[in-house]
């Protein structure tokens, strides 16, 4: 069931289109992440959904009820949403308890019920025993839990999260990702998460929306956007990749042949009919570093087998990061941390056509 429907959302700041024709349906209980570099419009989109920004165009529909059009906008307090901010925005003059109970007091719930619900959300966010503390007596991670509890306690229709973990240190951030996901799964609350960190999005979200310059570049699961990136932007933004520019030389039954600028000939899986460009047209191919095989001894493969030379090597603990020169192209290759090849040595390089990916420009 669709919970939140966003149709053609557009917001301009002066001449700049911060959000450009953004459309997305979010299902009940789904966890969606908006990712993209800073200035891509992800936060503006979220703030339009919250009601802090009035969009120039487009509709937002919550539970089949229109809450935002280009003519009228429902104020944030009537949308029954909750939001967690990067700055925590925990009220410094209220105790943890008072922070969390504020939303319930606004709803004029009886005192006993307020108390029950505050206690429940304290438990959920692992804040038991801290309810009488002031925010300045809490760590950053605890403050962010208070912000989360404060939002969850009102049982919102939608939970909005704006880079909630960016101010935390790396270890805590990783821990909190899993906690967030666990809580969301437990409550099955529809959530939208904005982040510039693609790994965070992958850990947390059911579905990832990659945004660039106000537009949606790709929507999909973590696997989709990583392995089947549809644009140069997505391929380079999500993880590292080898981006090869070339022209289409021939189309076969299951494979097509591509010749790169530097003369390397590569066979690539054909893909869906509609997506295939014309012969002689320019294409980009993305190959992930871990999708390339290198061996010091010869391997038997029908296509895409090359001789190469290792020109650079870095040991990064869980893997080796090599630069390999292959037919005038320099490819980045990542292997298991046990495949220790020496620099300047000759290697055999194999690129699986199935793991190569076409891109729009």
């Amino acid at each position: 069931m669709v919970k939140l429907r966003i149709r053609d959302l557009t917001k301009k700041f002066g001449e700049v289109k911060a959000v450009d024709n953004f459309s997305l349906d979010i299902d009940e209980g789904e966890f969606v992440a908006l990712v993209g570099p800073s200035g891509c419009g992800k936060t503006t989109t979220l703030r339009c959904i919250a009601g802090f920004i009035e969009p120039d165009d487009g509709d937002i529909i919550l539970n089949d009820r229109v809450i935002s059009t280009n003519k009228s906008v429902m104020p944030p307090e009537q949308r029954n949403m909750a939001m967690v901010f990067q700055s925590y925005a925990v009220w410094p003059h209220k105790t943890v308890y008072k922070n969390i109970s504020f939303g319930l007091e606004l709803r004029k719930l009886p005192k006993s019920q307020v108390r029950d619900r505050v206690m429940k959300s304290l438990e959920l966010t692992k804040l038991m025993g801290l309810e009488h503390r002031y925010p300045n007596e809490l760590s950053g991670g605890q403050q962010q839990r208070v912000a989360l509890a404060r939002g969850l306690v009102v049982e919102p229709e939608v939970l909005l999260l704006d880079e909630p973990l960016s101010n935390l240190d790396a270890i805590l951030r990783e821990e909190m990702r899993f906690d967030l996901r666990e809580i969301q799964q437990k409550l099955r609350i529809t959530s939208i998460y904005v982040t510039h960190d693609q790994t965070e999005a992958m850990v947390i979200a059911d579905r990832i929306v990659v945004m660039n310059e106000g537009r949606i570049d790709q929507i999909g699961s973590a696997e989709d956007i990583y392995h089947s990136s549809k644009s140069k932007f997505v391929a380079t933004f999500v993880g590292t990749t080898n981006l090869l520019k070339g022209t289409l030389r021939g189309k076969g039954e299951s494979l097509v042949q591509i010749r790169t600028e530097n003369g390397m000939v590569l066979r690539v899986k054909r893909g869906k009919e509609g997506e295939l460009p014309d012969i002689h047209s320019e294409v980009f191919i993305s190959v992930r570093p871990e999708s390339i095989e290198i061996e010091s001894s010869r391997i038997e493969k029908p296509h895409n087998l090359y001789r190469g030379k290792i020109v650079q090597k870095t040991f990064l603990g869980s893997f080796y990061d090599y630069r390999v020169e292959v037919e005038k192209e320099v490819l980045r290759v990542q292997t298991s941390s046990h495949k220790n090849l020496s620099i300047d040595s000759e290697v055999w390089v194999y690129i699986d056509p199935e793991l190569c990916n076409y891109l729009k420009g």
Binding site: P75, N80, M83, H93, R107, E155, E157
Partner: protein, 566 residues
């Protein structure tokens, strides 16, 4: 699952939008802008009611008026010079050297700043009055002569007393930059082989000079705007300044328009200098402070620290300790001038002003009432304007900002002239009532509340309010439950500042009070003119005591609150 929806927020927004905002904005405009416009208007019409600069030209044509103008300038320039001579070395000494008693000197400078200068002037009459001044008498007795060494009733006397109460502007400005300045700038010079004296002169001094100039401007403007000191020390000897001359013009027959024309140069000079300070110096000062907190390098003075300490102690003695001691002494004396023996000590003067003297009782009540009301209303209005300016996108925000800081540029006497001129006839006939004093106090001091509140709001992250709104608080409820409580300290400190300065206000009150609406400063002035020095001293000591209690209290409240909130 059934969900509770937040209930009705819209109606409340409308109350603010259609009731609170308009009332506050109109009040601010009527209080501040209307009198000033009336004053300017009054000054540019001839006696026949035609447009013209008759009254302005008079300033140069009439010897008395021009002399007053010249006296003000002479006093302003010399008092500023003395402020620099005292404020700068003292600031350097307490911020960057190893002299003892640093906090004592800092605190007494703060006391000097909150001391009403006209009380200082009266105290100095007791010491340096030509006839019975204690110090002059002492010299005569010691050297067996008839010479009067010092006469405080003179231009020099006025300059000296004013300097003792305006030097804190230079001191505080300079010290705060020295306290916060990144001392690696100085360390670099030391590394290159400059001696500590050379570093102080060639590196530190140029770096703090914008702050010094800015403090000097404030000292100059305060010296120009003061009424009490030249009134007490000059008027009886025919020495007039712009402020006392304006006061004189309002005696029978009152020459309103000439008074207005004389106030205009005060306003214009103040406006230009403040503009200069804001536009030019304001930018320069920010460059210095890096944001890192570094421990300033302390210069070890060696033997030189004793003369430096002596100099600092001399200044705080002249501005605070000696005058306070003098007032205290006389307030406890049976008769001013009687020898200081135990049998002459009495509390009778306090008893008199507290229980037997109707004028002082009345003016105490009036001043309390006015200061309390002025502080409360000004803080309330300032809060609404700040919310309007910083938390809405409505029109007229920069205009309102200008109106709210404008009174900074209006000396008290000029403000009083404007109020007289504006509120002496319909539609607002306030003259002759206590309300004209209240209106003038609010208008004069509202910038204090506005600035304090505005700085406070700037430090409050928008997201604190947004996080209340998204979980169901209307705009108004978010402001009321989140923003206003977080502003508590700014509001309290604004309130106390206004209370203290209104409680002993003299410059505007002296022109605006009427019978039954006397305030404390006016009563002290009356006692002075009647020669009731013992009662006057007792009243002064009470005023000083109340002022200091409030200052100390505010420091405690603000200090404590900070630990809780931030």
């Amino acid at each position: 699952m059934p969900r509770e929806y937040p209930k009705g927020g819209l109606k409340r927004i409308d109350i603010v939008k259609w009731v609170l905002f308009p009332i506050a904005l109109i009040a601010v405009v009527i209080l501040i802008l209307f009198p000033l416009i009336m004053m300017f208007q009054g000054s540019v019409f001839t006696p026949e009611g035609k447009f013209g600069f008759f009254y302005f030209l008079n300033i140069f044509k009439q010897k008395v008026l021009f002399k007053a103008f010249r006296n003000s300038m002479v006093i302003g320039v010399w008092a500023t010079f003395l402020s620099l001579l005292t404020g700068v070395p003292m600031a350097w000494a307490v911020s960057r050297t190893d002299i003892p008693l640093k906090n004592f000197i800092r605190n007494l400078t703060m006391v000097s700043m909150v001391t009403p200068p006209f009380l200082g002037a009266i105290a100095w009459i007791f010491l340096l009055g030509p006839g019975a001044g204690k110090f002059n008498v002492l010299i005569r007795e010691v050297f067996h002569t008839d010479i009067t060494l010092f006469n405080v009733f003179s231009i020099e006397g006025i300059i000296f007393v004013i300097a003792m109460y305006v030097y804190p502007f230079v001191f505080i400005n300079t010290a705060s930059v020295l306290d916060n300045m990144d001392s690696s700038l100085e360390d670099a010079a030391n590394m290159l082989g400059a001696s500590k004296w050379k570093t102080a002169l060639k590196i530190t001094l140029p770096l703090v000079s914008p702050a010094i100039i800015s403090g000097a401007i404030l000292s100059f403007l305060e010296a120009l705007a003061l009424f009490g000191v030249p009134a007490v020390l000059g008027m009886s000897r025919g020495i007039f300044t712009l402020t006392t001359q304006i006061y004189q013009l309002f005696h029978f027959p009152p020459q309103y328009q000439q008074g207005a024309a004389l106030a205009v140069p005060l306003v214009v000079i103040t406006g230009i200098l403040l503009m200069f300070q804001y536009l030019y110096l304001g930018k320069k000062q920010f460059v210095l402070i890096s944001g890192k907190t570094t421990q300033p390098t302390i210069v070890k003075l060696g033997k030189a620290k004793w003369p430096v300490l002596g100099y600092c102690l001399l200044v705080v003695s002249l501005s605070v300790m000696i005058p306070y001691f003098m007032l205290l002494l006389i307030s406890l004396n049976k008769v001013w001038g009687a020898p200081l023996t135990l049998s002459n000590l009495t509390l009778h003067n306090y008893e008199f002003i507290l229980f037997h003297y109707r004028l002082s009782q009345k003016s105490f009540l009036n001043s309390f009432f006015l200061a309390f009301m002025a502080a409360t209303i000004a803080v309330f209005l300032a809060l609404i304007v700040v919310i309007y300016n910083k938390r809405t996108q409505n029109v007229g925000r920069s205009f309102l900002h200008l109106v709210m800081v404008l009174p900074f540029a209006i000396p008290g006497v000029a403000m009083a002239v404007a109020f007289l001129w504006a509120y002496i006839r319909p539609p607002f006939m306030l003259y002759g009532t206590i309300w004209i004093l209240l209106a003038a106090y609010i208008a004069r001091r509202i910038p204090l509340a506005y600035m304090s509140c505005s700085d406070g709001v700037t430090q409050i992250n928008f997201e604190l309010e947004e996080s209340a709104r998204i979980i169901g608080a209307s705009w108004f409820k978010a402001i009321l439950n989140i923003t206003v409580p977080l502003l508590k300290l700014s509001l309290i400190s604004g309130w106390i500042l206004i209370f203290i300065s209104s409680f002993r206000e003299i410059s505007a009150s002296i022109l605006l009070y009427s019978t039954n609406n006397e305030v404390i400063a006016v009563t002290i002035f009356t006692l002075f003119e009647e020669g009731e020095f013992e009662a006057l001293s007792a009243l002064s000591i009470l005023v000083l005591f109340i002022t200091l209690v409030f200052v100390a209290g505010s420091r405690r409240i603000v200090g404590k609150g900070f630990a809780q909130v931030s």
